[in-house]
Amino acid sequence: MSLSKPLSARRLVPALFPLAHTSPASAAASRRARRRDAFVATPPTPPPSPSSVRLAEPLPSLAPSRLALHNRILELLISPKSDDDLAEAALFTRHALHSNCRPSSFTCAAVLAALLRARRLEEFFALHRFALQAAVPPTAVTHALYLSALAARGLPDAAIHHLRIISRPRSPVPPSPTAYRVVVRSLVVDHGRLSDGIQLKDEMLESGFVGPDPQVYNILMAGLVEAGDGAKAVELYDELKEKVGGELIVDGIVYGSLMKAYFLMGMEEKAMDCYREVIGAESEVRFDAESYNGVVDALGQNGRLDDALELFEIMRREHDPPLRISVNVRSFSVMVDAYCAAGRIDDAIAVFRRMGECEVVADVAAYNNLIRHLSLQRLVSEAELLYKDIEESGLKADEETHVLLMEGCFRVDRIDEGINYFDKMDELELKPDATAYHKIADGLIGHGMLDKARMYIDRMRVKEISPSTASYEALLKAYVAAARLDDSIGITKVILLDEKVAFSDEMKELLEGALCGEGRKDDITKLYEDVEKEKAEAAARAAEEKERADALAREEREKRRAEAAAKDEAAARASAAAIEAILGHKRRTENVTGEPAPDANIMDSEFQSRFGITSDGDGALQGISSGGETKEGEDETKGGDGQ
């Protein structure tokens, strides 16, 4: 071990160091100002003032019993004996929140992490909300997990909103760089919203909590390269360099994207200079597997297969699991890509087979990658071999595998087999999404099988997957091209009725042009009228349905009210009879003793009315008591709802 070359802490982790403070005193002052209204206390201790914010209790101040609870729950999470163990851990955490041994913020975060890891998002959100309501203060980890869950659910706007809340200037628990990475990645990679991602990066730098994070920059640069804007990507790199003080960026993650950007701009020399500078033996840049993969990909995709091979050799030499991991599954996928880009498919398959040498286990994504290349090269039989391999190696082929194989079959005109692969997904309980359906519909349209394509689009609607605009438009275009005008009007109607897609002007012109060409101009207006009518009908139907449901509920309520009234009446009658019997008995005994009771009848009726006891048909009093009972009935339903 050599401590001889100590790097400044700032250079090692620029992400965590916004360089906002130069002395510990000012850093402390800003931290204290942020936490002026914060307090640390275990509930049920109330906050000192209503506006103060509860902070997580630091670990050393937790009682041993709470640490024991933490360990007990971790045990359930780490080695679950059944699927229910995770649910049990979540439920136990929830129940323990109202007990003498409350789970700490750490325990809640551990359970949340496990739920997210198992992709049980419903339970995740439920527990997160419950813990917040039970005054478990969120930590940086909780925030990052919540943002990841929002990203996984496909709610980037909610994630941005939450991130902005926690990065406000006086936020007591500032976001971590991970939080920004998760949200920016979701924006750029999943939703293609590059400008929003760049805006979020600027906010990150402004907030003063997180410094220039190379990973965030890398996601943005990769997104820009993908979008074909190399100049902007290089601009981002220069900005990052300036932010860390004009020095070399130590994190190797950015260099892959940077090289791709240079290649994209046609500056091959510059890209190779950069490569030689950072990869050299005396370079200070730290590379992990992911960073290496980026560089190999940049070389391989741009016709530098020899350099890529050389670097791959270096990576394999450095690879020394478990101490140093410089090769992972993605490295092999990237190498497969590089070989395929050079047209050497056989070598690609060979390098894929050599995965075991580096103690790397292939995953479905790696298989999918190779299958994609094979099916692009029309080597469907090879791809089918790999498909069998997946099963043999104990993995499960996913939706993408099937769609890729289907596309391969379509490419070599083996239509039926392709359809078979698609239909196989139902048997395997896989759920193809709108994109998969679009691909099969598109493929079928390409082979002129319009009816079959229409069938799949209809099936999609049955399965409650909303078809994308692209699928509709492809079909409409095909119908128009095949001059099947009635069908094209039919599909247009479907498009117009589907509230989730827009009917673009381009399509409108296409359809109108086709219809006008055939001299069926009236059909267009008729079509629009029909659609309007149907929409109105649907709205009317919905209103009617609502009306009916309301009526049903009302009827139910009436019925229950009547029942309650009847019950009450019966009870009143019974008790009146009983009292009558007692009083009669009393009167009789009094008569026996020979003492007349002149006021007995008066007293009786007074007694009865005072207690609301009446003989049959005394409307007024009956009304009052039945009113009371109805309220009771409502209360019962309310109680039932309230459970």
């Binding site: 090692l12 965590l16 670990l59 609870l69 439920l91 496990a114 890891r117 309230g642």
Partner: protein, 486 residues
């Protein structure tokens, strides 16, 4: 109205980590960093205190007192029974492993009946036996004590429950002629910190006639162990600026620990840089581990991992062990497995044979950039915000059961204080999760409480058994055994 709680005897939580021997408890039981041997040579020592936990034959042997097994020192924050506090005539509990008849104790009788004043030897003996209360009584009766005895007595008060005793001992010490003794004063600081009484520690510290580096260290560490990392940092700043004391490598370790406990990441980095720049102290592995703990304890686990990957030296077992504990603390299963794998590869003695394999995650958390390649971008109208009919379940106060003539809000307020609710609330916060509660009430439970308790039983997952003067109600999973007959 009155309601009483009957709850079964508390069963303590089953012993934790049966499948994993590792436990977070060690993070708590980290000893306070006080090294008697590390005292600076400027302060001449009158006597050398033996290391407290060591059980060595004491210099002044107690008269004919047979040493039994020393009861183990009670752990911090103990919720169990208080440490054995024998009456002075009561013999200490006989050893469990009875090797023979208990030794005779003729000479061990009422101390106050013996010599007119007990000496320091006796006090030390008692302190080592953990009989602090008796020792304090002896002091009350005028027993003589020397610095060593005070030291031992203070060391015996390692439990917050013994804070009163510690204060009394401290009072006696302040009245004694050795009140300026540095060793005893430091011990007092340390024990106040262990008893979670930092205000007393601070007062003692402020009034100490002279302080050495250890005093500062004990105070800084005491603050951060008691969750007051911020105060610790303030004290450190004071030490540097006001007193001009040069911090040592150990001081910086404590400061980093304080930063970890108050999530002061920036300060930690600035102190780390200042260490070598201003004070010429080259950071050691433990300082790097300190930074890792700052990151991890503030909830930045990924960043801690990245920091480790960029360390200017090969990470040692110590680094991975720290990361392992941090991952365990934050519940990051994958990182924990990785850290454990690395730790075991570097130090095979740390292997945990009981560990079961972790199941694979459902899907990678991070999204591969490659996966996007096969993606079709689609454009849609913004989705309509669908108001899903959420079957919202909530408590609605039913004010018909309040018979006073007050306004609606006051009625709802009045419902909150029905005794059965208060009893359940108290029962919940004083019993472990999932223990049934038994409530007895001398009046009829009101309909609103009936509804409220049904909801409560569902939320807290407990069986609530409420008896009013009519019947028993077993509330479970949001239902009542009376079938809402009320």
């Amino acid at each position: 109205m009155a309601a009483a709680i009957h709850r079964p005897l508390l069963r303590s939580l089953p012993s934790s980590s049966t499948s994993r021997s590792r436990s977070l408890l060690h993070l708590l039981s980290r000893p306070l960093s006080f090294h008697p041997s590390a005292t600076s040579p400027n302060h001449p020592q009158q006597w050398q205190p033996p290391p407290p936990p060591q059980w060595s034959p004491s210099p002044p042997p107690p008269r004919n007192y047979q040493h039994q097994q020393q009861p183990p020192p009670p752990p911090r924050h103990n919720y169990g029974p208080p440490p054995p506090q024998h009456q002075h005539q009561a013999p200490p509990p006989p050893p469990r492993n009875n090797y023979g008849p208990p030794p005779p104790r003729q000479n061990y009788g009422h101390p106050q009946n013996q010599a007119p004043q007990a000496g320091p030897g006796e006090l030390i003996g008692m302190a080592r036996e953990g009989r602090v209360k008796e020792a304090v009584e002896l002091l009350d009766k005028g027993a003589r004590a020397d610095p060593h005895a005070f030291y031992e007595l203070a060391a015996a008060c390692s439990n917050p429950k013994l804070l009163e005793e510690l204060r009394k001992i401290h009072d006696f010490f302040l009245r004694s002629p050795f009140r300026a003794d540095l060793q005893v004063n430091n011990k007092m600081l340390e024990m106040y910190a262990k008893c979670a009484a930092m205000t007393h520690a601070r007062r003692t510290f402020d009034h100490m006639p002279d302080r050495n580096m250890d005093s500062w260290h004990i105070m800084i560490d005491g603050y951060s162990v008691n969750g007051l990392g911020d105060v610790a940092l303030q004290l450190f700043e004071e030490m540097k600026s006001k007193y001009g004391i040069t911090p040592t490598a150990h001081t910086f370790l404590l400061v980093l620990n304080a930063c970890a406990n108050s999530e002061a990441i920036e300060e930690a980095f600035l102190y780390f840089d200042a260490m070598s720049r201003d004070h010429g102290i080259e950071p050691g592995v433990e300082h790097y581990v300190g930074i890792i703990e700052v990151l991890g304890k503030s909830g930045h686990l990924n960043e801690a991992m990245e920091y480790i990957e960029k360390l200017p030296f090969e990470p040692t077992a110590m680094v991975w062990e720290s990361l392992l504990n941090l991952a365990r603390m934050n519940g990051d299963i994958d990182l924990e497995d990785r850290a454990e794998e690395l730790l075991v590869s570097l130090d095979p003695t740390k292997v945990n044979p009981k560990k079961l394999p972790t199941p694979p995650p459902k899907r990678r958390l991070g999204i591969n950039m490659l996966d996007g390649r096969n993606k079709l971008v689609e454009y849609r109208l913004p989705p309509k915000i669908e108001k899903k009919v959420v079957n919202e379940q909530r408590y609605v106060p039913d004010t018909r059961y309040v018979l006073h003539d007050i306004d609606q809000e006051a009625k709802e307020q009045a419902l909150l204080y029905h005794s059965e609710r208060l009893a359940i609330a108290y029962g919940l916060i004083s019993t472990p999760a999932r223990t049934p509660l038994r409530i007895i009430k001398n009046l009829r439970i009101c309909g609103d409480c009936h509804n409220a308790i049904k909801i409560m039983s569902r939320i807290v997952g407990r069986e609530l058994i409420v008896r009013d003067n009519k019947r028993f109600h077993h509330f479970k999973d949001g239902k009542c055994s009376c079938g809402d007959y009320w």
